[in-house]
C-alpha cells in the first residue's frame, strides 16, 4: 500500500489485463447515475437554449457561452445581464464569483489525478462541472483509485448532452413544456444530495455534509448562492476536522482513500455482507 496518493502512478484499469468485475460494476453504477443526471442536463439545456434566443443571443454566441464557460448558472446569469445592458466587466466579475466553487472540485480530485500527464489534467479541468464532479468522486472512491475512462464516461453523459440540448432549445424551444411541471428541477439537488449521502461513511463526513448545507444556506441568504456554496464547501470540512475527535488519518488510511490499487475488500463482498467499513463506497443498484 503506498504511503501517499502519488507513491505509485495510478494504473489505467483498462490498460492492464482487461476490466475487473469491480471496475465493470462501478462503471455500471456510474452510467446509471450519469443517465439520471443527464435528464437534468437535457431539461435545463433546452431552457438555456430558449432563454438565449429570447435574450437576443445568436446561435453562435449561445454555443460559444456553452463551449467556453460550460457552467449553467453563469450562462443563465450572463443572458439576463447582457439583456439588461450590464457592463462586461461586471458580468466577468460575477462569472468569477459564480464559478469559484470549481476550485474545490479541482482540489478534491487533484490527489487522485496527480500522476496523470499535465495535458490530461488540463483537459479534465476543462470539463469539470458540478455534475462530472458529483459523478466522478464517488466512482473513484468506489474503486479506491482514479479511473480516467470513468471520468470521460461521466463527461459524456453531461457535456455533449448539454450542448445538444442547447441547440435544440434554441431552434425549437418554444414547444418545450416547463420542466418544473414534471419535477425535473429536483433532479439536480436530489442527485447532489444523494451522492453526498452516499459519500457519508462516518461522523466526519456527516458533520461535513450537514454543516456544509447549513453554512451554504445561511451565507446564501446574506450574500448570495455562489458565496454560500463556496463558504459551505470551504468551512464545513474544517469544522468536521475540529468537531469530530477521531485521530488524524494515518498515511495508510489515506492511501486506502486515494489508493492506486484495489481496496482490501472486494466491493461485491461488501454488498452482501451489509455493514463493512467500506460500505460508503458503494451505491448499489
Amino acid at each position: 500500500m503506498p504511503s501517499s496518493p502519488s507513491a505509485t502512478p495510478a494504473a489505467d484499469p483498462s490498460s492492464a489485463d482487461g476490466e475487473t468485475p469491480s471496475l465493470r460494476s462501478a462503471r455500471r453504477r456510474l452510467i446509471l447515475d450519469g443517465a439520471g443526471l443527464s435528464v437534468s442536463a437535457i431539461a435545463f439545456g433546452l431552457v438555456y437554449g430558449l432563454a438565449a434566443r429570447t435574450g437576443g443571443l445568436s446561435l453562435v454566441e449561445m454555443l460559444a457561452m456553452s463551449v467556453f464557460v460550460l457552467a449553467g448558472a453563469a450562462q443563465f446569469a450572463a443572458i439576463g445581464l447582457v439583456a439588461g445592458g450590464v457592463p462586461w466587466l461586471a458580468i466577468l466579475l460575477l462569472t468569477t464569483l459564480l464559478n469559484a466553487r470549481h476550485v474545490l472540485y479541482s482540489a478534491a480530485l487533484a490527489p487522485w489525478l496527480a500522476s496523470r500527464r499535465r495535458l490530461e489534467r488540463a483537459a479534465i479541468a476543462y470539463v469539470l462541472t458540478d455534475e462530472t464532479f458529483g459523478l466522478t468522486l464517488p466512482h473513484f472512491r468506489r474503486l479506491g483509485r482514479a479511473d480516467l475512462p470513468g471520468y470521460w464516461i461521466a463527461t459524456a453523459f453531461i457535456v455533449p448532452t448539454w450542448f445538444a440540448a442547447n441547440v435544440i432549445g434554441y431552434l425549437g424551444g418554444q414547444g418545450i413544456p416547463d420542466p418544473t411541471r414534471f419535477g425535473i428541477d429536483v433532479v439536480f439537488p436530489a442527485a447532489m444530495a444523494g451522492i453526498a449521502a452516499a459519500l457519508v461513511s462516518g461522523r466526519r463526513e456527516l458533520v461535513a455534509a450537514v454543516t456544509g448545507a447549513a453554512i451554504a444556506v445561511g451565507v446564501s441568504l446574506a450574500l448570495g448562492p455562489s458565496a454560500g456554496i463556496v463558504a459551505g464547501g470551504l468551512l464545513a470540512p474544517l469544522l468536521a476536522l475540529l468537531i469530530s475527535h477521531s485521530p488524524p488519518p494515518s498515511d495508510v488510511e489515506l492511501a486506502g482513500e486515494y489508493a492506486v490499487g484495489p481496496l482490501p475488500q472486494h466491493e461485491d463482498e461488501n454488498e452482501t455482507s451489509g455493514g463493512s467499513p467500506t460500505d460508503h463506497l458503494m451505491v448499489a443498484r
Binding site: 446509471l32 454566441e61 478534491a108 444523494g194 464545513a236 476536522l241 488510511e253
Partner: protein, 110 residues
C-alpha cells in the same frame, strides 16, 4: 444579429478555467500532508450537500434579494436521501424525488 458576445464568452471562459485547473495543475498537490488530504476528502460531501441545500432552500427574487423557501422539494430531497441510504441507489433516490414533486404539483396545480 451579430456575434459580438463570442468575445464575452471567451473572457468568461478565461475567468472560469483557472478555478477548474489551478489545483489540478499546480505542483505539490501530490505531496500534501495527511491532514490536508483528509480536508480535501471532506470537501466532496460538504460541497455536494451545499449545492443541494442551496438549490432547494434558497430562492433569488427578481429584485436580487434572497429568501428561504421550504416546500415539497425539501421533503422530496429528504426522502431521496433516505432512499439512497436505504437502497444505496442514487438513481432510485432521484426518481423518488421527481415523482414526489411531480405528483404534489399535479395534485395542487402548482
Amino acid at each position: 444579429m451579430t456575434d459580438d458576445l463570442v468575445v464575452l464568452a471567451l473572457l468568461m471562459g478565461a475567468v472560469t478555467y483557472p478555478w477548474r485547473a489551478v489545483p489540478l495543475l499546480a505542483p505539490g498537490f501530490d505531496r500534501l500532508p495527511p491532514l490536508a488530504l483528509e480536508y480535501l476528502r471532506l470537501v466532496g460531501p460538504a460541497v455536494l450537500a451545499a449545492l443541494a441545500a442551496v438549490a432547494i432552500l434558497v430562492v433569488t427574487e427578481t429584485s436580487g434579494a434572497h429568501r428561504l423557501q421550504v416546500g415539497i422539494e425539501l421533503v422530496a430531497i429528504v426522502v431521496a436521501v433516505a432512499v439512497v441510504r436505504w437502497r444505496r441507489n442514487v438513481f432510485l433516490g432521484i426518481l423518488t424525488a421527481v415523482l414526489i414533486v411531480a405528483i404534489v404539483r399535479l395534485a395542487t396545480g402548482g
